[in-house]
Amino acid sequence: MRKSWWKILTVFLLIYVITGGLLFEVPRLHILNETIRALYFHVPMWFGMIILLGISVFYAVKYLRTSNQEFDLRAIEFANVGVIFGILGVLTGMLWAQFAWGEWWSGDPKQNASAIGLLIYFAYFILRGSLEDVNQKARISAVYNVFAFAALIPLLFILPRMTDSLHPGNGGNPGFNAYDLDSRLRMTFYPAVIAWTLLGVWIASVRVRIRRLFINQEI
């Protein structure tokens, strides 16, 4: 990942997504109107969060297998950036909900689940903070990281699907597939998911390098 081609790709994709997301033609729909553009900024945050937290769990498992400090650094930084994506996802979602549903917080199952998911990861940071020994900190937080991810999966993927949600695509609301007759949304949506996720990976890798510098300085 030291090559620079994917960083250049990220920048170009993001420029495309931001200009295209704000300027391209979108389907005219009742109630949603122009707020349908939230699809390019709100939904990719969740994709990014899940992918980044998944990478964090991957490194936590790798740490448990090898006890290499390097993997712990990556696990914590990917979790950090994943949580920031989650917070941005909640905020952009609230902004959209305020126009589409008329309220900032409507107690929608997906809203609640994402709030609980963030609580799980805040607890992860508190747990890290309250352990002294470096090796113990890394090992125990890796264990909680995997455990929390296992608890997060039913929360985000199973429970919201069992109740009616106000979100498009749930509880009788048509999903974007139904609106999107000529695939205009998709032309910006898929690049948006890739671009935002790559940006998250980029931020995380920079932060890992900063941490590594701090550790080398101490020795």
Binding site: I120, S130, Q136, I140, A142, A150
Partner: protein, 221 residues
């Protein structure tokens, strides 16, 4: 391994029986909480809204389960930790503790349900389904709490950590349990709850599997 497991659980129970005051303390905690709820609502039997009745019951069970399960790893002395470390494999310890805590929570929540129904009335229409939810719910709570208490026991402020680590992890179970038990209170047709039961079982299995796989790493540190 099965024989080791059985002897481990048997020893845990014997140990618990020898200092009965801890279990008695938790039962007293449970019954006094029920009584506090009764007095603060100052209701006569069957006047509480069934939804509120249900939610308060589960909150009482949640808090007593934190107290009951927290002692399994947090209140371990250095000596007993070393003894267990050298004599048992981590798999036996986590499975034994999970099963033992489930048995403990099961009896506690059944006692709690009896006391609760006695003072606050019993609006449940389908009592068998409700009891099944109580069984699965308390087992699920002790599954996740056992692992969380093992994690929290390693840190300094373990009692606070126990609460903040376990609440978000327990929430999916709690939400499912409240949903199914509401159906049981309203006497909804049993087939309607089968899917929810399956999801609850799947969550329990997921958490048990995660604990089983992760505990050895925790134990070694």
């Amino acid at each position: 391994m099965a024989a080791q497991l059985i002897s481990f659980i048997y020893n845990e129970i014997r140990l618990e029986w020898r200092n009965r005051y801890t279990v008695n303390g938790i039962i007293l905690y449970l019954v006094s909480t029920v009584f506090i709820c009764y007095l603060s609502f100052s209701v006569r039997a069957n006047q509480l809204n069934p939804i509120t009745w249900n939610v308060i019951f589960w909150l009482i069970i949640l808090f007593s389960s934190i107290n009951a399960v927290a002692k399994s790893f947090i209140q371990e002395t250095e000596g007993s930790f070393l003894y267990l470390y050298y004599t048992h494999s981590p798999q036996v310890i986590i499975l034994g503790r999970i099963i033992y805590n489930s048995l403990l929570m099961l009896s506690l929540s059944l006692v709690g349900f009896g006391a609760y129904a006695l003072v606050l009335g019993n609006p449940v229409e389908d009592i068998w389904v409700y009891l099944l939810v109580v069984v699965l719910g308390s087992v699920g709570l002790s599954f996740s709490m056992t692992m969380v208490s093992a994690i929290a026991s390693k840190a300094r402020n373990s009692n606070t950590l126990m609460a903040i680590l376990s609440f978000p992890v327990v929430l999916p179970i709690l939400l499912m349990v409240i949903k199914i038990s509401k159906n049981a209170i309203n006497g909804v047709e049993r087939l309607a709850s089968v899917d929810d039961f399956m999801v609850l079982l799947a969550i329990n299995a997921l958490i048990a599997a995660a604990s089983y796989l992760l505990f050895p790493y925790l134990w070694r540190s």
